[in-house]
Amino acid sequence: MNLTEQEKRMLGGEFGEPVARALDYLIQFGDAFGADRFVDVVYAHYPAEMSIYRGNVEDVVEYAETGAMVCIPTTTSTLACDLDRWKEHGCPQPIYDLQAAVVPAHRKMGILGTYTCTPQWLGFVPPKGSYIISVESSAIIYFNSVLGARTNRGGLFTRYAAVTGKYPLMGYLLDENRAGTHLFRVKLGPQDLLHDSDFSALGFHVGALVGSEVPVFDTLGTATQDNLVALGAALATSGSVTLFHAPGHTAESDSVEEAFQGRQPKETHNVTPADIRSVYEMLTTIDPGGAIDFVTLGCPHYTLEQLRYVAHWLREHDAKVHPNVRFWICTNRTTRQAATWEGIVQTIEQAGGHVVCDTCPVECHMRKSTCKEFGLPVPQVQAMVTDSCKMARYVGDLIGCKTALCPKDDCLKAAVAGELS
């Protein structure tokens, strides 16, 4: 790594010990990947330390004591409980108590307590071509693809990038690594790509085929912003896709040829309705008519419009959630406040649902290993219905229940009926 005069002074300790140490880690990191210099990053989405990971909260409390401060706008990803409504969701007190300790540590470091997997809905929309660093695979793929900002898959070193404002120039920050590799000809009609869950299934199918490479879709029909979030989250679940192109929907290329930067696709695939159906079948292990006890919407965290849709459906159907069913709709705190002003939250709550912030089922006390860690009884979940492939995939292992992938309306019907139709 070649360092600028400023970076040499940072490494020499002129800006404090935390900055020097952070830069040293980043140099090792850049050297591993053969980067020759740093770039300035303008935004960080930071992995909030979670009480479900042993030692994770203590780590940031200790780190904040070193006097380390972030030097760029920094938002935070999800926690292990809703900091306001944790009691309503059955979160045990010790999990909340430990988790709440991150808030003063983050504030001390200048980090914003957004605690969401969709910071873009809070106004963090970095410009096309800007360098950023983000965690949360569904946010990363949205920033890279839909917005055209440039980030690698952030991890532990997001902290050090936020403290220094530096990241090695490598990976998805470089033009040549942003070229498409696999072409997908989407042979789906408007009826096959209607729901967020259809886009999620499309992403899950393609992610499994491309692994960590860069898929290009020749069309995505009339995809909305919510559809694109669903697609990206699933691409990053069945594979580790970090960037996709869909000319007309994503920021970087106006044509398929441009998305490939003049190269030939390594592989070309047709996507057919049978491919989409097979994802629904694979992620549905609950038998038709089988009892269900959990419905989750909001993976990734729902937008105001998605919440509005749910409230509207519940009102239209004069619906009440079945007494055996936990019905969670996950979002961020700002959106819940806006939805409260709209009367949306009240409608959902009166029907028996919960609008959950800061967390989600697989990151909170519902995860099998969490309560085990705290020596608490593990909550029993038999069968979860969701509109997200990401949720369905992780629930299977982390909560250990049966799952069903359904469009939103069918999730809502299941929440009311207490069984899968």
Binding site: F29, A32, P47, R54, F157, M170, Y394
Partner: protein, 138 residues
């Protein structure tokens, strides 16, 4: 003496040995492994129920959510991390960050099909600085 030596791309330094855990499919630290025990919990995984602790993991690539590096660091705090990771494909940044912080030696892109030539359980030595993977016939 090792019977086999294969060059690879050295990513995270260290020279360590351990029994090989050879996985034919992509591996996810979030979901595939119990972060308390290091045991593989993914249903239907070829090594379901085995531990990754102390192993030289050989697998094609890391998949899944970026929360995976946190799981690796949790494993490391309890001494349940693998001693080395050998990736068939280029390493993603996430796993390298985790490996630097956790002291897990890491190499990638070996010049040979290790997944089909290293027997599961064979004693393997990985040199992250030199970029070498060595093992002996049983």
């Amino acid at each position: 003496m090792s019977d086999h030596k294969v060059k690879a791309r050295g990513m995270v330094k260290g020279r360590v040995s351990g029994p090989a855990l050879v996985c034919r499919k992509a591996f996810s630290f979030l979901g595939d492994v119990d972060m308390d025990t290091g045991e593989i919990i993914a249903q239907g995984h070829e090594h379901e129920g085995e531990t990754i602790a102390g192993k030289v993991m050989i697998y094609p690539e890391t998949k899944g959510s970026s929360g995976g590096c946190v799981v690796l660091s949790v494993l490391a705090k309890q001494g349940k991390q693998p001693v080395a990771i050998v990736l068939e494909k280029p390493a993603d940044t996430n796993i390298v960050e985790g490996a630097i912080v956790c002291g897990v030696t890491l190499v990638s892109e070996p010049e040979g099909d290790l997944i089909h030539s290293v027997p599961n359980g064979a004693m393997v030595t990985v040199d992250g600085a030199a970029g070498e993977v060595m093992w002996s016939d049983a």
